[in-house]
């Protein structure tokens, strides 16, 4: 018997355990998956939890519920990978040998990376919404907050779900308007990028949203520290922004296990071939999802599209055949714009988000890069798709792994 080991049972790892159990013969391959956590969170819901649009209970399931029969779940912490020995060391001292390793350890917030962020003000006047606790504590804060300067902030790129902070700002506008206190809240969006939108077509099509929602933008802001005595964030260039309530996306980092294993980059991401998903660390190590250093978005849809490439390439690797360079950077996400509307974007490594119809070219029913009610319903329906289709490794109807050109308004003259 040969052994395939998956590290991490989040979105990517769980999907891979389901896909690989179907793909690899039971009698020849043992599959194990390691994750210390008990709970599988529906992470896209963390955006809605602060506004009481989802209850905490709707976002939690038992991690065991989604690991298929025939896959051995090991609930231990990972110490490190010994790649030369094809072995993973667990923190309880046990060793697991593997023939093929899949790293799916994701990424997490690292507020300790920014001076002053994680002090006594953490989850009092400074909040994240990228963790269950952060989103829940922020919900409790927003319930009774009387208004003032609300700063929505990105510490540094790359981050998981790069549009989530912008969606958060949009939802704040609706939330406070519904509470009849929008005039008491000043919303400022602070980003290290050159603007809230950075791609040409999206900038042209979507910049109206900020004006419409009266959201002030502070671009090119690379945070150096949080001054909690004076409630302001300060950047390396000396720029300052005052806040009464700071909702930040702290630095995102991969699991420290990669650092202990001696191959993570400066943010603990694993060097990965962007087309095949084989690691650059060793040929029998593959990587999926947020744990990679790929120039693709860190998002569940991306992991879903990657899972097709990875499942096929692991089978090719076992057969001793060349791997397929089939992952194209495809990403697909709904963007909540507030007031019951949403946008949808569909793009890849080379193609920026443009207008069009999705998933059926010329028909839709969803509209790309355009606000609509049906896009919002799509986003809300996604929770069911996530629990019932996505992480169980099933294909999503009409949605292909590689991005489709049909149905998109692409200006080829540029």
């Amino acid at each position: 018997m040969k052994n395939l080991l998956i590290l991490g049972a989040g979105t990517s790892g769980t999907m891979m355990s389901n896909a690989l159990r179907k793909a690899l013969p039971q009698g020849q391959w043992n599959i194990s998956i390691v994750d210390f956590e008990d709970t599988h969170y529906y992470q896209p819901g963390f955006l809605f939890l602060p506004f009481d649009l989802y209850t905490p209970k709707q976002l939690k399931r038992d991690i065991k519920d989604f690991i298929p029969k025939g896959v051995n779940l090991i609930q231990q912490k990972i110490d490190r990978i010994e790649k030369e020995k094809n072995m993973v060391l667990l923190q309880n001292g046990e060793n697991i040998f593997y023939d093929i390793l899949v790293i799916a350890t994701g990424c997490n917030i690292a507020p300790e990376e920014i001076e002053g962020m994680q002090g006594p003000s953490w989850h009092k006047t400074i909040f994240d919404f990228y963790t269950f606790e952060g989103a829940k504590n922020l919900r409790d804060k927003l319930k009774h907050w009387e208004g003032g300067k609300l700063v929505v902030h990105i510490s540094e790129m790359p981050i998981k779900c790069p549009v989530a902070p912008l969606e958060f700002a949009f939802l704040c506008d609706s939330f406070f308007a519904d509470k009849k206190m929008r005039d008491k809240v000043e919303i400022t969006y602070v980003t290290p990028m050159s603007g809230a939108f950075t791609k040409p077509v999206a900038t042209k099509e979507l910049s109206y949203l900020l004006e419409q929602k009266n959201i002030k933008i502070v671009p090119d802001f690379n945070i150096e520290k949080v001054d909690t005595d004076n409630n302001k964030i300060i950047d390396y260039g000396g720029q300052e922004v005052e806040y009464d309530l700071l909702v930040t996306v702290p630095t995102n980092m991969g699991d420290e296990m990669t650092l202990r294993s001696g191959f993570g980059d400066e943010l603990n991401y694993v060097p990965t071939n962007k087309f095949t998903l084989q690691s650059k660390v060793k040929e029998n190590i593959f990587v999926i999802g947020d744990a990679t250093d790929l120039p693709a978005s860190k998002a569940g849809s991306v992991a879903h599209f990657q899972s097709d490439t990875l499942t096929e390439n692991i089978q090719l690797f076992i057969a001793g055949k060349p791997l397929k360079e089939s992952f194209d950077g495809h990403s697909n996400c709904f963007i909540e714009t507030g007031n019951g509307k949403a946008l949808l974007i569909d793009f890849n490594y080379d193609q920026e988000p443009v207008k069009g119809t999705f998933p059926i070219p010329g028909i839709g029913p969803l509209r790309l890069l355009k606000e609509s009610r049906i896009n919002h319903l799509g986003k809300r329906a996604f929770k069911w798709i996530y629990w019932n289709i996505l992480i169980t490794g099933k294909p999503i109807p009409f949605v292909s792994s590689r991005m489709k050109i049909a149905g998109k308004e692409i200006n080829t003259s540029e």
Binding site: V163, M193, K199
Partner: protein
């Protein structure tokens, strides 16, 4: 796509003045772009530019943290060399794409 003449060289760039082909880059062009950004190039500036181009050719995503850990400059010094949005300014002078997010 635009074409413009810098230091006697005809180069292609996007609407925001970023070169679309790194092969068209040379030091004379870079000096002209730097002037437009109000920067006089020094040896330290060139070291940073070299580093950014090297990372770009390796297809590694460039972040301000990476520059700060490059051993060439720390982030404060990076700001002193290229004030206000150092990564986007330095990328422009280096002839590499502007750092972008997904939309």
């Amino acid at each position: 796509m635009n074409e413009k003449t810098l230091a006697g060289f005809c180069i292609r760039c996007n609407d925001q003045g970023y070169l679309t082909d790194l092969a068209q880059w040379n030091k004379e062009v870079a000096v002209e772009i730097a002037k437009e950004e109000g920067i006089d190039m020094t040896n330290k500036h060139w070291e940073v530019i070299d580093y950014l181009q090297d990372q770009c050719r390796k297809e590694v995503a460039i972040t301000i943290r990476k520059v700060g850990k490059s051993g060439i400059v720390n982030i404060k010094e990076f700001y002193q060399l290229f004030p206000k949005g150092p990564l986007k300014t330095a990328s422009k002078i280096a002839g590499i794409p502007k750092p972008v997010s997904c939309i």
